[in-house]
Amino acid sequence: MMTVQNHVTAMVGNHAVAYAVKQAKPSVLAVFPITPQTTMLEKLAEYIEKGELKAELIKVEGEHSAMAAVYGAAVAGARVFTATSSQGLLYMTEMVYWVGGERVPIVNAVATRAIAEPWSIWDDHQDFFSKRDASWIMMMAENVQDAYDMTLQAFRISEDKRVLLPVMMGFDGFILTHTMERLMVLDDEIVDKFLPPREFSLIDFKDPVNVGPIAAPDDYMKIKYETMKAINGSKAVIEEISKDYEKITGRKQYGLVECYMCEDAEYVFTTSGAWTGDAREAVRRLRNQGKKVGLLKIRVIRPFPKERIKEVLKGVSGVVTFDREYSFGSGGVLATEVKASLYNSGIEVMSVIAGIGGKDVRPSHFQRVMEDVLNGHKFEERWLNE
């Protein structure tokens, strides 16, 4: 019988992630303040100034440099961390692609937030999903516990020799960053065992290499092909690390997707991020009314778990995806990808666009949409504007 090695506390999301980062013992961090990530930066600065975390915190002049600085440190062998949000993530985008292309282990926590113009400090997923083609592994947390657990797993996944890719952990701005929740944290020794120190550096004076030089077309495409293989191959590693984490915590860690009452479901919500909790509550209420509904949470956005989605949704009549972001001129990103995953399966995919710019979404919203569907009001795309 395994003992659960955690103790119970309460923290807001930003502090939970900062605490996980402290336990992961990175040697270099570079962070620039941006709402709603800022209180995480403050916490990290506090840990370092108090000597609780022995690391260099580079207080850069902007997010482009934040990503550049952790890239440099990661190239030199450091375990690194940075965090950002919204405009900050856009501002660092060039470097986000740069580190993805070079396949350097980096963990970036993104407190998701709407993108200007117009200005909005509130939550949605437009920032996070805009990085979906940057050769990163991308995961979305559901709650504060998940954000903590995911941060620790992100370091391990990123540095795994079979993966070697940067990992972006998304967690909803304010909804998770600023909400205090019950949190079970691991003992430091347990984290040390789960996450041994980072091993390799790209800077070796005895055997120097040229990092990030020009590649002619044949080489460039070959490198992209290798990246594709590494990202697809990471699915198995993410699931393996999830299981490993499950063992030491006793908490279920779900891997790529998580199913709630999917088994005999006729209609299923698909969600990603914090509102999964609201969707779960809606499913619970609908089940109480005897409606056969379920929920599929997509935990990993990149690589997109196509095979798992197809497997889990086999036999359902329809899917209602909730997107907190939108690809203008196309549709909800998650909806599009779920559709692609279910291609030729005959399963109907309906797309709901909601919560853009922080617009409130509650269990009752999920419930109402599903009731409409069950009453035969099908749709291709529906914006919850009312």
């Binding site: 270099v28 440190a73 020009i214």
Partner: protein, 303 residues
């Protein structure tokens, strides 16, 4: 190949046994390979070069090999001083005394990367930043930068630039960093002496190196050193260093505070096709700007 480097990057081998391999991809008459060779001779093998988008990106070879004997980290255009900051902090964390050198052009330094350079200088990061200034965006084919001089033809200033050169070395002095210097490839001993001094100082060291570009400046590729030399003799390019706030002129420039010792700027301008379209008034304005810079230098020397 070392265990330290993962498989996916192993193809990017550094092949040179020399400081800097001859037969690299530089244009004929380009001073960059020589400038790098002189730099690496001083800095030694325990040096990391960080190179933003520039002519040197091409000179540094492709994924099949690099002409440098030391690790080269290529950087996005605006990112080099920040990447170098990260490398330097991690080297400090692992107790490694290797040197981190940014090798950047004028565009990466004075334009797109200016905030990054200024940020790293303000934080006094332990890096040596060398700007090799060829006074335009040369790698993309001679477009004006903020460091292109007044009157110069470029493809984006076809009738000659109307603004004066951004005085980056002087701006760097105002950052109160431990070391700032200018240098010229025509005076290699002066350049290397400055590198040697910079090597032994901790904190942000800035060296601004005038690096004439034969195709961009429109002169014959045999004249590179001559052009770099006349730039100093006319006072257009003063050689100085600032150690912990102490300003001093070096080499020939020590003698040039007296205006009569400086050759007229025409001698510099006439060597280069890029100044062909300048009018007499333009030349006068250029001369006045040089003279006024020397008045400013006079104040710095007195301090």
């Amino acid at each position: 190949m070392s265990e330290l480097v993962p498989e996916y990057i192993r193809r990017k081998k550094v092949i040179s046994q020399q400081h800097f391999f001859r037969g690299n991809a530089a244009c004929p008459g380009c001073p960059i390979p020589k400038e790098l060779e002189l730099l690496l001779e001083v800095m030694g093998k325990k040096t990391v070069l960080v190179v933003p988008a520039s002519c040197s990106t091409v000179i540094m070879g492709d994924i099949h090999g690099s002409p440098s004997q030391v690790p080269v980290i290529h950087s996005a255009f605006a990112a080099s001083a920040a990447i170098a900051s990260g490398i330097s902090r991690q080297l400090r964390m692992r107790g490694d005394d290797a040197k981190v050198v940014v090798w950047a052009g004028d565009g990466a330094t004075g334009d797109i990367g200016f905030a990054t350079v200024s940020g790293a200088a303000e934080r006094n990061e332990d890096i040596i930043y060398v700007c090799y200034d060829n006074e335009a965006f040369m790698n993309t084919g001679i477009q004006r930068s903020s460091l292109t001089p007044f009157g110069a033809w470029t493809t984006t200033t076809p009738t000659g630039k109307r603004e004066f050169k951004k005085p980056v070395p002087f701006i760097m002095i105002e950052h109160k960093i431990p070391y700032v210097a200018t240098a010229s490839i025509a005076y290699p001993f002066d350049y290397q002496a400055k590198l040697r001094k910079a090597k032994d100082i901790q904190g942000f060291r800035y060296i601004h190196l005038l690096s004439p570009c034969p195709p961009g400046w429109r002169f014959d590729s045999s004249l590179t050193i001559e052009v770099a030399k006349v730039a100093v003799e006319t006072g257009v390019w003063p050689l100085f260093e600032v150690v912990n706030g102490e300003f001093s002129l070096t080499g020939l420039s020590k003698t040039l505070l007296d205006k009569s010792k400086r050759k007229p700027v025409e001698e510099y301008l006439k060597l280069q096709g890029r100044f062909d379209k300048m009018t007499k008034d333009d030349v006068r304005a250029f001369q006045e700007a040089v003279d006024s810079m020397w008045e400013y230098i006079k104040q710095l020397v007195k301090k």
